[in-house]
């Protein structure tokens, strides 16, 4: 008898973990709220740092999904921890008895309209990183009208206690730099400004991208958080910040302002945590058993976590996290269920 593993969330982490567990011989059930797998990857055009189309890794992930039972447009109705398993009722009426559950619910993008001073949803030419990615894909958005001056605001809803998120969202800096370059490619005459507090180019090749943005695209980086945005009569934007490197207030008129909305915990994930009586950590993301050594284990036996459910992550980090989670689940099931252990031994002997 194969163990059932339920994976909640069909983003990259959920997909990668499903594929890994399927290969390890488990019976994998993947549920996804939306009608397609891929999560945020579906809505992203190209990925940092090399600018690979998001569809590429997505296709690669799709290829390994053979045999995984996927339920899309499906949510968790209820979830209960039994003695050695979880009783899960899905919104499509199916009940699953899962020996292990992996939560790969990902993240929600910060609702940029909550930073009222930036006027998202009020001013005509204020958009978010997600809107811009959508425009890169579709090339249709009334707000983007051949802009000559484009600004990027880093840390929108990140490193901002008043916006409810003290932490750094990790990927926005490099995303902003990537998008700044892409905007320059789309509008070569445009002048692009990035308003940053710190540039966190932590990953491999990120610094190269930053250098390229400066050198090849002439992107101007202004160290200072945008304080307020107003709309001019011609619907252009009057943006104010402090240039902290010269300790002076700075003001500029822009035709397009892109807000780099950060990563917040997933509300859907929070509902599941509530059903299981799991308290989140201060940052709103899932609590793990140990932040250094047991990153994929939730504080409940049989419950595992992968990807941005435990905080902001890049795509390769999410995938690595998913593989780790798959390994952790495999260890767990082998330890808990004697027949799984026996089966494994048998396979080893015969193999």
């Amino acid at each position: 008898m194969k163990n059932n593993v339920l994976i909640i969330g069909g983003g990259p982490a959920g997909m990668e973990a499903s594929a890994q567990l399927q290969r390890l011989g488990y019976n994998v059930i993947l549920i996804e709220r939306e009608s397609t797998l891929g999560g945020h990857l579906n809505r992203w055009d190209r990925l940092f740092p090399e600018g690979v189309p998001a569809s590429e890794p997505l296709e690669a992930l799709m290829k390994n999904m053979n045999g995984v039972k996927c339920f899309t447009d499906t949510e968790i109705q209820s979830i209960n921890r039994l003695d050695k398993s979880f009783n899960v009722i899905l919104s499509n009426g199916i009940t699953v008895l899962a020996d292990a559950v992996l939560i790969a619910c990902g993240f929600d993008l910060f609702d940029a309209s909550r930073k009222e001073e930036y006027g998202y949803g009020i001013y005509d030419h204020v958009i978010t990183n997600a809107d811009l990615e959508a425009w890169f894909q579709s090339k249709s958005d009334d707000r983007i009208d051949n802009p000559k001056r484009v600004g990027f605001v880093h840390c929108v809803g990140s490193r901002d206690e008043k916006a409810g998120c003290r932490g750094c969202s990790k990927v926005c800096c490099v995303t902003a730099v990537k998008e700044a370059c892409e905007i320059k490619e789309a509008f070569p005459d445009a002048q692009v400004y990035c308003f940053y507090m710190d540039l966190r180019m932590f990953g491999r090749h990120y610094e190269d991208l930053y250098l390229k943005a400066q050198k090849d695209y002439g992107v101007r980086f202004i160290r200072g958080r945008v304080s307020e945005v107003s709309e001019n009569q011609d619907r252009s934007l009057l943006v104010k910040a402090e240039d902290t490197l010269s300790s002076k207030p700075v003001q500029i008129t822009l035709d397009l302002l892109v807000l780099m909305a950060g990563m917040r915990h997933s509300e859907a994930g929070r509902r599941i945590a509530d059903m299981l009586n799991l308290a989140p950590e201060d940052d709103g993301f899932f609590a793990v058993r140990n932040n250094l050594t047991a990153n994929q284990q939730a504080r409940m036996p049989g419950l595992f976590l992968a990807g941005a459910a435990t905080g902001p992550k890049t795509l390769p980090e999410s995938l690595a996290d998913a593989r780790s989670a798959a390994a952790a689940i495999d260890h767990y099931l082998t330890d808990i269920f004697p027949q799984t252990r026996k089966l494994k031994k048998l396979v080893k002997k015969n193999g």
């Binding site: 002048q191 400004y193 930053y210 250098l211 400066q214 050198k215 002439g218 101007r220 980086f221 160290r223 240039d243 490197l245 010269s246 002076k248 207030p249 700075v250 003001q251 500029i252 008129t253």
Partner: protein
């Protein structure tokens, strides 16, 4: 006109809309590596002249990025051209040439 004993105070604000791109582009044409500066301040930290007087390549370039040419020239007046800044620049910018170029273009304005 009435003397009120006070008057409008000048703004300290940098207005990037007033930025003179043409002149700045002339500088970039002379020293394209100026674009690479990430304003780490290494140059100012080792500056021989900055021990005695307000001199900073970083501040000068920063002033130019904000469109303040006169301030940039002022920042470089005390430069002794010793070349220490070039030696320490992590991005390999030829700061001496940058200084010469800034003075050449903005010094004449």
């Amino acid at each position: 006109m009435v003397d009120f004993g006070f008057s409008l105070s000048p703004s300290s604000r940098i207005d990037l809309d007033e930025f003179d791109r043409k002149t700045f582009d002339r500088l970039l044409a002379l020293e394209p590596d100026a674009k690479k500066c990430m304003e780490c301040g290494s140059c100012s930290a080792v500056c021989t002249a900055s021990r005695y007087t307000e001199t900073s390549v970083r501040r000068a370039l920063h002033a130019l990025r904000n469109g303040c040419g006169a301030q940039a020239v002022e920042e470089l007046k005390g430069c002794q051209f010793c070349g220490k800044c070039t030696m320490v620049c992590p991005r390999g910018i030829n700061t001496r040439h940058l200084i010469l170029s800034i003075l050449k273009i903005y010094g004449a304005l």
